[in-house]
Amino acid sequence: MKYAYFPGCSLKGLGRAYEESLLPVLRHLGVELQELDDWNCCGATAYMSVDENRAAVLASRNLALAENNGSTELLAPCSACYLVLNKLQHHITEFPDLRSTVQTALQRAGLAYRGTVRVRHPLDVLVHEIGLDVIREKVVRPLRGLKVAPYYGCQIVRPYATFDDAHQPTTMDRLLTTLGAEVVSYPLKTKCCGGSLTGTVPEAGLRLSYILLKEALRRGAHVVATVCPLCHFNLDAYHEEMERRWGPVRIPTVYFTQLMGLAFGLEPQQLGLHRNLVPFTFPIETTAAA
């Protein structure tokens, strides 16, 4: 299996542990990734707040580069990138004016886009293409005794994703169960983490992250599993600030790919786990679970 790979800015920056765990895990499963040459920022939510047309042009360059490269499947692990690229796909089909705006801009760079690229999320590929049976065979160190709160966040299930349910997604639940972990019931699994409001309006943004951690603890989880670099940053890097404001919520947050790597027998350092500010070790030390 071969995919074009769109890492996005976060996976080269604050969220590099996501890439560091995603790449070896997919390699282990025989998936070949080819990083899109000279990819650019998707624009995320911020560019769309400033200029819709330019945001569309910015994102479209990536789809055009992938298509011109002969790729039909583009893997986008970051939730914001995944949403933005999918949204653009929908919008250029739905709105002819936007489509011609984008085509004009692409032509300027000698590019074109016919709309043949499918944007995929790693969860989608893992569960629906590779399959849980294949993944189960690779598990050499089952995550027995580990209770995980599966946190999907907002932008991979709403509103353009088709690979899972917008209200009750289950792909990560099933994946984690396959790894031998125990998935706790976590009704906040698709609630917002606060996004970039954690930095801009902490009283509101950080509170949302705090509620997520608090509920995960209340449900008996040892760790929160996330699919998004911004969610991870909010829940992990702002952890101390949340505790300072509202009291202890001692629970680490890791990428689901890091849990996969551990179950496949890879070392924590190979999976970027040393980059967590709230440390996570497996097996769980019983004294640390407070």
């Binding site: 604050l14 624009g43 707040s49 509103p159 209200h167 917002c192 996004g195 890097a237």
Partner: protein, 201 residues
Amino acid sequence: MHIQRTIKYEADRVRGFAEEIMSLAGCDRLKSCIQCGTCSGTCPLSIYMDHTPRQIMALVRADFKNEVLRSRTIWLCASCYACTVECPRQIRITDIMYALKQRAIQEGVYPRRFPIPVLAHEFSRMARRYGRITETLLVMRLFLKSDWRALFRSWRMGLGLLRTGRFSLRRERIRRVQELDQMLATIPEAPATPSTPRQTP
């Protein structure tokens, strides 16, 4: 005690604003809003907003342009799309919030040192200039442009990110920056952009 009028007068309306917003891509279904309040009930941030999302929908439809564009609500929307998915009339509320943010920036009517529009502005500048975002540099610019003291309040986190190798000041950029810039230059500049953002009253 400072007494303020809470009801809008007819004279506060800016005729044509509702039509203009509803003519934008993805915003047309606003006219079918039934004011049920599902959006406000679903929104995780509505409790911090000066007008709830339902009220914003009503204000837009009633042409209250100034109230909407100066509202903090549009900036508190974190784009989680919960309202869009739940709306029984399939109104793309998140996209309407984006349209309103764009108008507020074009017309320079966002709160001056309010960090959210500052972040959006700095982000788009960096993306356009370099093709990629260097997150740490973006955060530093945000602090400088909104609240530089926040930089010092975050020193412990900064140290943690440094210790774990996540903090990098190396500028990320694409090779064909010019190509991207030429592409973006095909979009005409938005009309009526005052040079400096005005303070909201």
